[in-house]
Assembly symmetry: C2
Homo-oligomer: 436 residues x 2
């Protein structure tokens, strides 16, 4: 790579609100989205909520010249809704389906059926390795009583782990060259996180991965107030969707980072503002994000020895602790439901025995026979609820155990604070920040 290497990356992100039969003006909006993407010719367009594979195929065909590479990420029963269109060839594709994603009996919310996931594509652009992630986390249906909070925190943690998995910057290994452990040169994450910037999951994700927020870093911002991606001006957005934030919410993001040897800056960030100048309706109920990023070569710096004491390291530790606590509350809730379902099963079995006795006798035998099948149904239903919440508890326990492990290592690191091992655990985060 030449020392004066410089790359401009134009990225588009949109939650398309493409629910067949339910989303208004879907076909027209998809058509206009295709036109816009063809006109602007971004390097990458990352889309969410393209629930119909036909819509993806329509866009694929329409965009085939400007975006020769495309992929639809399949998962769950309906699909993840995620897809990507790229000007550059895709080298690798993989995805991670979140372990926890709502409840199957919350049919009206529907998230469980989608198999929410994080998709990854690896691109090689002018010798630069770019890992681009697209994701969509579980929706927040009520800010006040968010029954999915623990699931979203677990998803944010899994996403952070999935990103680190592919692009982690390990602490410098003695005897190894300066940046032997790098894999991706640039990491880009776009998507609808369904979290506000200060929400626990969002902070955890950013702190743990070292990803920077394009809205906060951009040199030139044009768009909706405060970078909101759901705004009241948008005719598809109701005040109910915005809850206690009538001016709008920011839940869609463009996040990025680079390894040592490169520097990245967000030259411009633009959002749509709730209406389309060429049409009476906007592209979606979410606003699109359009970012222009510049990646430049910069001489590799000596990895600074992390010098922070426990106080400086506390933000990420506090976030980990907070997430640990929230997951613990989720586990307690899941176990409560499993226990409740267990009692219902027990009660159902008792009723079944009673009905069998009644059916064998002469008094009320007809009623007993009539009630027999609903009782079996009740037991089976409660059994399914029991199994589901046991699985939920296992999934939350798993995430909590991973956090526990990290916190355990952090504690050991603090104990050995004066020794060189101090760099081990949080060196990762420290290096990420230093590199940027």
């Amino acid at each position: 790579m030449k020392p004066n290497f410089s790359l401009r990356l134009r990225v588009f992100n949109l939650n398309c609100w493409g629910i067949p039969f339910l989303s208004k003006h879907r076909a027209g909006r998809m058509e206009r989205l295709g036109d816009l993407l063809n006109l602007e010719s971004f390097d990458l367009a990352l889309l969410q909520e393209v629930w119909s594979e036909q819509d993806f195929q329509y866009l694929r065909q329409k965009l085939s010249l400007a975006y020769p590479a495309a992929h639809y990420f399949r998962s769950g029963i309906i699909g993840s809704g995620l897809c990507v269109f790229s000007k550059h060839p895709i080298q690798e594709i993989t995805q991670h389906v979140y372990t926890l994603n709502g409840y199957p009996y919350m049919i009206h919310h529907g998230d469980w059926f989608c198999g929410k996931a994080a998709g990854l594509l690896v691109l090689h652009i002018n010798g630069l390795v770019l890992n681009a992630y697209v994701t969509h986390l579980h929706a927040e249906y009520s800010r006040e009583k968010d029954i999915y909070f623990a699931h979203r925190v677990a998803q944010a943690w899994e996403l952070a782990q999935f990103i680190q998995c592919r692009a982690q910057f390990l602490p410098h290994q003695p005897g190894s060259p300066s940046h032997t452990s790098k894999k991706a040169d640039v990491v880009l994450l776009c998507g609808d996180l369904n979290m506000h910037p200060k929400d626990l999951g969002c902070c955890l994700l950013k702190e743990w991965t070292g990803l920077q927020d394009a809205y906060l870093e951009t040199q030139d911002y044009k768009g909706s107030d405060e970078g909101c991606t759901m705004v009241p001006k948008n005719c598809y957005v109701s005040q109910q969707d915005l809850g206690p934030f009538p001016c709008g919410i920011r839940i869609d993001y463009v996040l990025y980072k680079v390894v040592s040897g490169f520097c990245i800056s967000c030259k411009t960030l633009q959002t749509t503002t709730g209406h389309d100048p060429h049409s009476s309706t906007p592209l979606s109920d979410h606003e699109a994000l359009m970012a222009t990023l510049y990646v430049r070569h910069s001489p590799p710096q000596q990895s600074p020895t992390p010098t922070q004491g426990p106080a400086e390291r506390s933000p990420v530790i506090n976030l980990l602790k907070e997430a640990w606590t929230e997951l613990g509350m989720g586990i307690a809730q899941a176990r409560w439901w499993a226990t409740f379902a267990g009692y219902v099963i027990g009660l159902g079995l008792l009723v079944l025995m009673l009905l069998s006795v009644l059916a064998a006798g002469e008094v009320a035998s007809e009623v007993a026979v009539l009630l027999w099948t609903p009782s079996v149904g009740l037991i089976l239903g409660a059994g399914a609820v029991y199994l589901f919440h046991m699985q939920e508890a296992k999934g939350l326990c798993r995430a909590q155990a991973e956090l526990q492990h990290v916190l355990g290592r952090a504690k050991k690191t603090q104990e050995l604070d004066s020794e060189p091992q101090v760099a081990e655990l949080l060196g990762q985060q420290a290096e990420n920040r230093a590199e940027q």
Copy 2:
């Protein structure tokens, strides 16, 4: 790292057959397993089928001095059954739960409830980064009519992707130092793959990741004939378990690889042979594997430019194609079941309408009321089957699309065979083999 660096790694692997209430002599076997592990003091002990977390806690306590680090991988409803005990501190823990893992209505097989997974722990031993994976794939209940074949192929592909995800050796990037993309120095995979060495999934896994089989590579082998890990001599193994292989089957493995700059050899590999010399019963229905690996420093070699033509590259391509075909058959099967369930739903709705009409009339109204609830049950059951098989089809499609992408790249590479890009796709596999 010193040039004369050398590391001895002693590894233990066992499928423990620890099903509460069902597995014979479980408590006694766990006790003897603990004694053996304490006595031998391996670097790593990787266990499968420890279905009861109490068993894990018992072993953890018993092994706390010889193996200070331990982890139990939680997933599904019952748990993955995977756990690890390590002499060395564990730096990182993560896991991947397989998307497809049998059918919930095959309760007697039970795999679906376990949430089969691959667990990963990252260890730093004397400055060396070791990624150790432990896994357990879906069981094969019938060799002749294996309804889980496509699931196991998908699991093998996901496992291969998960391993590459953490330890992939990317093709040499222009301008970057010789081995910038390495992350783990050593990759170790132990577990019960439920696949014979020549089975499609097993070959795909080994070819795609470049992992070597300790049984085939070892300088000194002691144990059961042909390296079998389920043998007729074992009193817990029935002839039915062995199916058409009365002499035994090899389905448990120790696999490994290293990056350029290191070389690895398997000094000894030992298996138990179906009986315990100190007890009347063996440790499990599977045989344990005990390997001694040596990792040594070796001068980094210039990555050879892959010179193979299409003919030499064909093994992995053929495997990918074969897996693609098998997944296709799995998709057809899944769709058949979804369609069948769809017809049952339709039929159930018709019956329900008929029953409603009958119940409103006078003829057979009692029978109609009696049959109403079972009909609703039938519709709900068929609905669940429909959703499950739709999800199965999506999961298989996803794996097939990933294979399709790889095959597409391979085709492009073949077309550009005379140009430097030839190294792109299969350079990865070629380099892995060359490095070893």
